[in-house]
């Protein structure tokens, strides 16, 4: 099976995410990713190395690179290479729809400003978890949905506490990310090297 991923014109980390998605879905075969710059070529190559798959790189006429990655052909364990700095090993845990304790209006505006700043600052956190009134931020009517959806499309995992959605009766209004339970929330906080708690 052969799959082609045209990632020309895509900004980092999109080429890696696009390639990873195909590799994960493909039982066996070759994924060829086309990129138009050297950084993207290196990042996609590192992804192949981190998976232990063999790959070759061809250069095209217009300075584009074709990275052919063969899934199923496991090569000897090479030097350990990390996936490029797409994400920080960081979980941001948000327990309120406001940032900090004080005037409600200020708390709301600070939270909007914080989420915008997260979105604008790569590398992104690997995961963002929302609980208690924080789940209002991932639901219909939230003023930061656009930012959260953008983060989600970049590959940031967004998890809202199911108990909380249920308590506030807004489960069917969830617009960004997935529903998780306390095990997931704790696991995400525990497994990340760093967790930022905000509420």
């Amino acid at each position: 099976m052969k799959i082609e991923v045209d990632a020309r014109g895509q900004l980092c980390p999109k080429p890696v995410i696009m390639t990873k998605k195909e590799l994960d879905n493909l039982p066996n075969g070759i994924v060829t990713t086309i990129v138009d710059n050297e950084v993207a070529k290196d990042n996609v190559s590192k992804l192949a190395i981190s998976y232990g798959y063999g790959f070759t790189v061809d250069k095209g006429k217009n300075n584009e690179y074709y990275i052919h990655i063969t899934k199923g052909e496991v090569v000897e364990e090479g030097p350990s290479v990390c996936i490029p700095d797409t994400f920080k090993d960081l979980t941001i845990a948000i327990g309120s729809d406001k940032m900090g304790v004080g005037e409600e209006k200020l708390g709301n505006i600070l939270m909007k400003s914080f989420i915008y700043t997260v979105k604008e600052t790569a590398p992104w956190p690997a995961t963002m978890v929302f609980f208690n009134s924080g789940v209002y931020l991932t639901c219909e009517g939230s003023e930061i949905l656009e930012d959260l959806k953008a983060l989600e499309s970049e590959g940031v995992e967004i998890i809202s506490c199911g108990t909380c959605l249920d308590f506030y009766n807004i489960k069917e209004k969830l617009q960004a990310g997935e529903i998780g339970n306390m095990y997931t929330i704790y696991e995400k906080m525990r497994n990340a090297n760093n967790t930022i708690n905000l509420g």
């Binding site: 900004l11 209006k105 200020l106 505006i109 909007k112 400003s113 915008y116 700043t117």
Partner: protein, 88 residues
């Protein structure tokens, strides 16, 4: 890198920003409240960005004292080369 251009209004205080948000909302102008870009001298930490298509409406709001701004800028986001240009 995609280039994005916005209008930005800065304010003398957070209270003014919150008040202006209400006016933007009531006029149906789409906007975002963001931390004031570093390229703009900071007066209050929060600014409002909006589409340049709405610049005339925003200027009207300023002229009629519906919003009390500190400055109004054209802000170009262009990778690492962000620029702010004061409008008057």
């Amino acid at each position: 890198m995609r280039k994005e251009i916005y209008g930005v209004t800065t304010y003398k205080s957070t209270h003014h920003t919150i008040q202006a948000e209400g006016v933007f909302k009531s006029k149906g102008i789409s906007f975002r409240t963001i931390p004031t870009p570093r390229e703009i001298t900071v007066s209050c930490g929060l600014s409002i960005i909006f589409s340049l298509d709405d610049i005339d409406k925003v200027k009207e709001m300023v002229d009629s004292n519906e919003i009390d701004i500190d400055g109004i800028y054209k802000y170009t986001k262009d990778g690492f080369n962000n620029r702010a240009e004061k409008l008057n």
